[in-house]
Assembly symmetry: C2
Homo-oligomer: 318 residues x 2
């Protein structure tokens, strides 16, 4: 639903916003936790930095007839240095609940707007950062979970997070989605995938690429080239080439994501839509056990937890 | 030398041309094997397909005052399907000398122009092709060499070739150079390298990236992202980010190139200029033993061997 009015009887309690680099998603949340309205647009940080963050936010609140003064909780790139107000980072290792204490207020607004901080891993060899995924993570795992969990959050920059007894001990970003994008748009392989649909449709090729890259990630950039050689020598289709590139990048990512963990760790996949289908296929192909959490629901739950911690009087009644 | 006249006393015997996708190199070779003239330009296959291959060739021959009717031997993408005349492929495994028998004549020319075929590896799982490197290879290894040799030919699409007792048993292409190009131009990391010089200048970062990616190639796309996180958290310079990206891609390539060979194999690096310096640094950093063959000299030797096999009356007198 692009726009929706209020449910009869439930009053809006706060607004939750997931403000990424290139996407904006807003939910009007009711006093009982119901979703009273939703907005999605391409006015991510990059666009909002030109138009104005306050203006973008207000236009979506107006479209939902949100009351003046309604509180807003935000996660994502709006808190980056080049965003609305810099929200800094919480350093790992950390308990996830610490991010709730790091929210910054946006000054000069007629309403209370808070932006959640990101996570930073400041080790010398493997520095890493996330903004937005920490909130998704907060909504994906139980605070009282015991043992080691690996959380995979696929995307433009996929995040693999290690959580032990509810603490984030470290994480790794893999540039999978962005590499797929630049390789299929700007490299010689753009010719190999020309005309393919958005979603890899050649499951057999996807699955064999997953297996090959997972088994030998050192050969990943060689496997990519077989998309071209396969077209020249074996008549590989554009759908096949696309599946091969996608499977190679995801297979290598999974090998990397799992390289530093205990064999017995539980894998949680936080994804939705196209990426959920691809990663579930990949995990099944590799006989890995996993559970899936819907990414949209996870970020809403994380924002809701933050809202409840910051404004306890808005606590759900249910 | 962009242009040069004839050496006094030595008559031109044939013309050797290395015609790549985006580069054209031509040598006027004397009857005693001396280089009597040289031309380099950006009129590779892509440009020549628009201007006309015969026209491009003639303009360079005119600039060197090459005699009418002088024979021309060509290797590279001019023999591709989208090139001048398709020269096909010799299938691996093969003796290298077989490529000499696969040259095709360009019809309708006033002079004898031959284009050498490429190599194709038609295996189902790892199809691969090369055009031009087979001639460089011919000029790099001794036909009577015994034992296993690994030949590394770095470039836009780096080739790693396994040669056993003078036979090419197989090869692998790694998209290292092209990935470096698209990642530093089109991904989020373009901001991280903005302003860096052409040649990675931060040797310490290059070498630590080589070691890290060689040790854990599954983490390659994670190491790439540390170029961004390192700038945000540790003040990594643009030269450092560039060295990190270059070292990561080359380190992973070397891990892949060496993954399927005997430990005792000899490594031959066929490179010149910037790539020679980078790969020599990488091999030294990994304590790998190697010998270097100059890439320009290798392709000239390969073309010369082809000319002598095709036109034995032009055999060098020395």
């Amino acid at each position: 639903m692009e726009q929706s009015g209020h449910f009869p009887g439930e009053q809006p309690a706060y607004v939750a916003v997931d403000w990424g680099t290139s996407s904006f998603r807003l939910w009007l949340v009711g006093e009982n936790g119901g979703i009273l309205g939703e907005r999605r647009s391409g006015e991510g940080m990059t666009t909002a930095a030109k138009i104005g963050f306050a203006e973008v936010l207000q236009s979506h609140l107006d479209a939902l007839s949100a009351p003046d003064g309604l509180r807003v909780i935000v996660c994502g790139m709006a808190g980056a240095r080049q965003g609305w107000v810099e929200a800094g980072y919480i350093d790992t290792p950390t308990s996830l609940s610490v991010i709730l204490t790091g929210a910054v207020s946006v000054p000069g607004q007629s309403r209370d707007v808070r932006i959640l901080p990101g996570l930073a891993q400041r080790t010398k060899e493997t520095p890493d950062v996330m903004r937005g995924e920490e909130t998704q993570l907060l909504g994906s795992i139980a605070a009282d979970a015991k043992g080691e969990q690996i959380v995979c959050m696929p995307g433009t920059h996929s995040k693999w997070v290690r959580v032990v007894d509810g603490h984030v001990t470290g994480f790794s970003t893999f540039m999978t989605g962005e590499l797929f994008d630049v390789i299929t748009k700007h490299s010689i392989l753009s010719a190999a995938v020309a005309g393919a649909a958005d979603m890899p449709a050649d499951s057999a090729t996807f699955e064999s690429a997953i297996k090959a890259a997972f088994a030998k990630p050192a050969l990943a950039t060689n496997l990519l080239f077989t998309a071209r050689a396969g077209q020249l020598l074996h008549g590989l289709t554009s759908a096949g080439a696309q599946a091969l590139i996608s499977g190679t990048l995801i297979g290598a990512e999974i090998a990397g994501g799992l390289s530093a963990i205990d064999k017995g760790a539980t894998i949680t996949l936080v994804a939705s839509g196209r990426l959920q289908a691809l990663y579930e296929d990949a995990f099944r192909t590799l006989s890995l056990t996993y559970t899936t959490v819907d990414a949209d629901a996870a970020v809403r739950r994380g924002l809701s937890a933050a809202a409840q911690a910051i404004w306890p009087n808005n606590e759900r009644k249910s």
